[in-house]
Amino acid sequence: MRRLRLIPPDTNFRFIALRKRAYVVSILLILASAVSLGVQGLNFGIDFVGGTLIEVRTEGPADIAGMRQTLSALDRGEVGLQEFGQPTDVLIRIQQQPGGDAAQQATVAAVKEALGDSVEEYRRVEVVGPKVGGELIEAGAISVALALLAIMAYIWFRFEWQFGIGAVLALAHDVITTVGIFSILQLEFNLSTVAAVLTIAGYSINDTVVVFDRVRENLRRYKTLPMVDLLNWSVNETLSRTVMTSVTTLLALLALFFLGGEVIRDFAFAMIWGVIIGTYSSVWIASATLLWMGVRPGATDDLPDDAEVARTLGEQ
């Protein structure tokens, strides 16, 4: 029986030779992210900036223009309305009210009274006060920073320091471009986005570790191979696995994106982006950094014992 081979066994793409083009792409991505973050910033959800979010379902197709007029009359500052998933569902966002936590509470009551009978069902009401919002931003930033540090420490401990730096550069690349894409597309950045970013970090490092593991193995095995070829070889050897895992993960995530419901869609989007960018970065950013950091065969501390080398050579 013929098996499907996504990547033929004798594949030998010259990945590393393409690294300069990859650098250009990455730098452009990062620049675009930075510019977008600087110019339009992130579209923070109420988790972080506080405010009120109400999801309502109306009997027939919702009269969004009418609702907007009704709610604007309440004079609660910026009110955002959008269709949410289907014509009967509307998501209402109301900005943080001046006057502290009590003022937020009063807003919900005012909205419910104003909308009255036009709403069939209040599907979701979320009110986040200014105090909690600030704390959540802090906790989110700390957790991302700590995750990066912990992962760097782990890689450092398990590999050489050059690998640690390579992994973290790749990771930072993935985190920055993910946050960047949220800014560019002005998708809502909320608590679950932070969760997505951390998971992307985990996934991306997972991918990087697999490639690094193979690089380390090959460093011990082939002492005279030029580094460019060795990296190329390592990436190609693991390519089949990298692609397979990305495909299975993407299959699951696409199911989540299309079927998981409106609430989870942005989260699934972030993850899909993360899987793609994470796969890309472990091939080009992480591996190419090793070249740039001067890792070369025989330079690692933990050289294998002679017996293992002999056994490996004997098998060739």
Binding site: A102, R124, V127, S143, V210, T245, T249, L253, G261
Partner: protein, 520 residues
């Protein structure tokens, strides 16, 4: 390689079986078939988070600074009385920030003033300098104790109020120094409950002050203006004596009943309260007695005769619900400090069910896609990986049920993600086996080397993801925490199933078939 210790086989099979058993209650949840099952089957199912089953999540802050202020006002009162009793002159007595300050008129009184204050309150720190300027403060640890006690007391009172409302499994827990999380499953319109929870419910009985005064003017000394309603529901200002005749703390019971067809609240005092109430009503027959709840006069009936039995009735212009709520609040007691809501998240039952359905659909489709793909790429080995994946799902649900962890919508996302990533370990192993076979190893050698060499990579790769999950758990809140839990459990179970369960299957297959070629 072909050797697999018997005990290892037993352990692997036992873990898989336990996973299936513990996961099983989740599958007949809707039809209630579970009740007919033998009792040895566990009945615990996964806890659904409020975002899935619908309900209200409230984050409340206890404004503990008010407790300290109240305590300082009591100190101020004590100082005033102590010094007046022994005729020690002072001026400028008052609460400034977190301290009570005053100045002695005569520096010769410093020592006696210090002694008097310490007698009354041994916890307060007294500082009086040579000029007679005094500053009374509580040390930080006492402040912490006072505030913590207030939070505990609030927790207890809220618990009683919630329990008496007859809700379905409300949970209430302390969160940090001065916060309380209340979770109300199945409550989709919490407005009434929210109002009831944060009402202070401080009840006091005062005499009405009968001096003539206009509500627009300042109240005469010893009295205070309070808003209120009369028996006809008319809004009115009452001039009430400041002195508390009986306090609500003396209540031992309160019930809603009817009087002349009107909903009223009957109450009963403890013995001290009964004595105070008896004396007040005995000495002031004919005068109106103001019943003040949270600075509002709810009723001011005339005292017709001394009430010595220690019980009475509050008849305001109540609706039935108002009377029931008032009785409940009086039974639970007054809150020691004001509360405010910092956060509210309410999900209606419709959205919750939709999320469950969507999550189910996404999981099933995602899983089927991965299963098909694995067979297409790896054939028989892919099938084995699929069996492992199914066991993995069982183990995740089993662990979630056993740990009584909460499954949230992001948690479902974590499971779907695990489906995709769980096969990674098998992919690593299978790709390695393919490679080893390509360099000329035999069937057994290739399988052996494949498992062996992939193992280190699998552990490295999964530990890093576990680190991310652990941080999410520590710093995340609510739903995000749920995601971290399923992700972490998923990583651990997938390592077990991908490495041991598939290996067992591969070994059994090799033993039986003795293949010459790898079907991979």
């Amino acid at each position: 390689m072909l050797y697999f210790a018997r005990w290892k086989i037993v352990v692997i099979l036992a873990i898989c079986l336990l996973g299936l058993i513990y996961a099983s209650p989740n599958f007949w949840r809707p039809g209630n078939v579970g009740s007919d099952l033998p009792s040895w089957i566990p009945h615990k199912t996964v806890n659904l988070g409020l975002d899935l089953q619908g309900g209200a999540h409230l984050l409340i802050e206890v404004q503990t600074s008010a407790v300290l202020q109240e305590r300082l006002e009591a100190v101020e009162d004590n100082v005033r009385r102590s010094l007046r009793d022994v005729r020690i002159g002072y001026r400028g007595l008052g609460v400034r920030g977190n301290a009570v300050v005053f100045a002695l008129r005569d520096v010769r009184d410093i020592e006696s003033a210090r002694r008097l204050i310490a007698e009354r309150d041994s916890l307060v720190l007294v500082e009086i300098d040579d000029s007679g300027a005094a500053r009374l403060e509580y040390p930080p640890e006492v402040v912490v104790d006072v505030e913590s006690a207030a939070v505990e007391q609030t927790l207890e009172i809220l618990r009683i109020r919630l329990n008496e409302l007859g809700l379905r499994e409300p949970t209430i827990q302390r969160h940090g120094a001065d916060r309380i999380i209340v979770q109300l499953p199945g409550v989709d319109d919490p407005d009434a409950i929210k109002a009831l929870l944060t009402q202070t419910a401080k009840l006091t009985f005062h005499l009405l002050d009968q001096r003539n005064a206009e509500p627009s003017a300042a109240a005469p000394p010893g009295a205070r203006w309070h808003k209120g309603t009369d028996s006809l529901g008319q809004e009115l200002d009452y001039l009430v004596e400041k002195r508390v005749r009986v306090s609500g703390e003396r209540l031992v019971d309160a019930q809603q009943t009817f009087q002349d067809g009107q909903p009223v609240v009957s109450f009963r005092f403890d013995s001290v309260g009964a004595r105070q109430f008896g004396r007040t009503t005995g000495e002031h027959v004919g005068r109106p007695l103001a019943i003040v709840l949270d600075n509002e006069v709810i009723s001011a009936p005339r005292i017709n005769e001394p009430i010595l039995g220690g019980s009475g009735i509050i008849s305001g212009s109540f609706t039935l619900t108002e009377a029931q709520n008032l009785a409940l609040l009086l039974r639970a007691g007054a809150l020691p400090a004001p509360l405010i809501y910092l956060e509210e998240r309410t999900v209606g039952p419709g959205l919750g069910q939709d999320s469950i359905d969507a999550g189910k659909a996404a999981s099933i489709i995602g899983m089927v896609a991965v299963l098909v793909f694995m067979v297409v790429v790896y054939g028989l080995f892919g099938l084995m990986a699929n069996v492992a994946l199914v066991f993995n799902m069982a183990l995740i649900f089993g662990a979630l049920s056993l740990l009584q962890a909460t499954l949230t919508l992001p948690g479902i996302a974590g499971i779907v993600l695990t489906i995709g990533m769980a096969v990674d370990a098998n992919v690593l192993i299978f790709e390695r086996i393919r490679e080893e076979a390509r360099v000329g190893r035999g069937v057994i050698g290739a399988i052996d080397a494949g498992y062996d060499r992939a193992l280190k990579t699998i552990i490295d790769a999964n530990l890093t993801t576990l680190i991310a999950a652990a941080l999410l758990f520590w710093f995340g809140s609510g739903p995000v925490k749920g995601f971290a839990v399923t992700l972490a459990i998923g990583i651990m179970t997938s390592m077990f199933t991908a490495i041991w369960v598939t290996r067992l299957m591969v070994v059994l297959w090799v033993r039986r078939r003795r293949p010459q070629m790898l079907p991979i």
